[in-house]
Amino acid sequence: MFFQQLVNGLTIGGVYALIALGYTMVYGIIELINFAHGEIYMIGAYAGIIAIAAAQTLIAGGIPPIAAVALALLAAMLVCAAYGFTMEKLAYRPLRHAPRLSPLISALGVSIFLQNFIMIAQGTRDKVFPHLFENTVAFDLGSVRVSLIQIAIIVGCFMMMALLHLVIQHTKIGTAMRATAQDKTAAALCGIHVDHVISVTFMIGSLLAGAAGVMIAMYYGLVNYSIGYLAGIKAFTAAVLGGIGNIPGAMIGGMILGLLESFGAGYISPEYKDVIAFSILILVLLIKPSGLLGENLAEKA
């Protein structure tokens, strides 16, 4: 039981962490809770499924499973980055200097729009992620069953997080993102094109969410146009738990939330799984709003 929940928790936690990164990066740079980020994740899942279906019909004899997964990930990341870019440009950039509430409502609008857009385009019924692998159990110890997909998700998440860390810490654009997050005016005075950096931030965050969408579609086998909302809120919880605006915080927050949820479902009750996440969110905000690794935000109050 314990190990089973541990593995399940790490799997789901990795996915939360990937989505949470998008929230935290965007919040860090423009202090916006991008409510539409959950929908980007949902779009990623759909893009992955569609890409595989397209490849399987176009290429005679089908494609090997590994290639299919790679294709799905690639397609989802590209599509999501495009959506992230467009979303920022159309719905948030015109509101850069508006009162805080305006971009937030705009984000809610984008979220509703995207969700209904996919509902109309893809229908209300669940979409099935193709069954790619025959033997999916990596090891089976009687009480503990770990599937290949779980291992792939956990490893994949860690790889993407490591890659992101490299980009943020050691490239010019990554440094510019950190600089812009700290002081937009000073960044502009250094010759950094701030709008460009914000676009890139949205694209990277969206791309990670897209990858998370494909992973979750592969894990559960089913996706629906409405999955973005709950996943989005939970990933946001993870971001807040780790300290919003803090990138390692989002990674840790995602893992912790995934584990808590998984153990909560296992030991308390699966129905209240979602309540656990929300209660954690409220508790963290009440006790330590800056999160585990965040800077002290209370000063800005």
Binding site: T175, Q182, L189, C190, G191, V194
Partner: protein, 247 residues
Amino acid sequence: MLEIRGLHVHYGAIHALKGIDLRVEQGEIVTLIGANGAGKSTTLMSISGIHAPSSGRILFEDFPVEGMRPDRIVRAGISQVPEGRRIFARLTVQENLRMGAFARSGSSVGNADLDTVYDLFPILRERRLQRGGTLSGGEQQMLAIARALMARPKLLLLDEPSLGLAPILVERVFERIREINRSGVTILLVEQNAHMALHLASRAYVMETGRIVISGDSRVLVGDPQIKRAYLGEMDIDTTQKPTRSA
């Protein structure tokens, strides 16, 4: 080199600049002095493209730059050391400096420049892997100046480099500014420390509530009784004392 004609800036309902005319010639040090809220920083921020002017022209090397994007203006050759330094506290000293060279393409470009500014400010070399926020006030000011130099500006705008520094450090910073100017960089210096600024600069403009009220040779202005009373104090003052206004 820089010419401003009839510059007006509004913040919402507030008319911050009411028709500024100003010239800076190649190789000069020009200072812009005046009290808090006179519009000095607004002038610099308009030159750098952070605030869009409501009317007027800003010509840099006879080329209009008003309303241009801030990063393009940096690329054109105007760098600013903003008021309060505004270094990136959570970036290392070296990262701060590399950000200064952001607008210039190519990744190797920075290394030679890094050496140049490290030679100018040796303390920064020692601290290059430290986070900007851990530096002392004087070191942060030097970092801010060094960061602006990384863009290889033709014109350097300095906003209150003496702010919050001990007198001995102010001397040192001003000495560096003179050195930078000698290496061929034109300088427009905004200061509340009128005494120091007038001694450093060749020409000066005095601002009051969004207008330029006096301009001329700084040696003449130092002797001007009106300036003395309003900005320098009547007695021989020490450099830390903030100029006070009677009006």
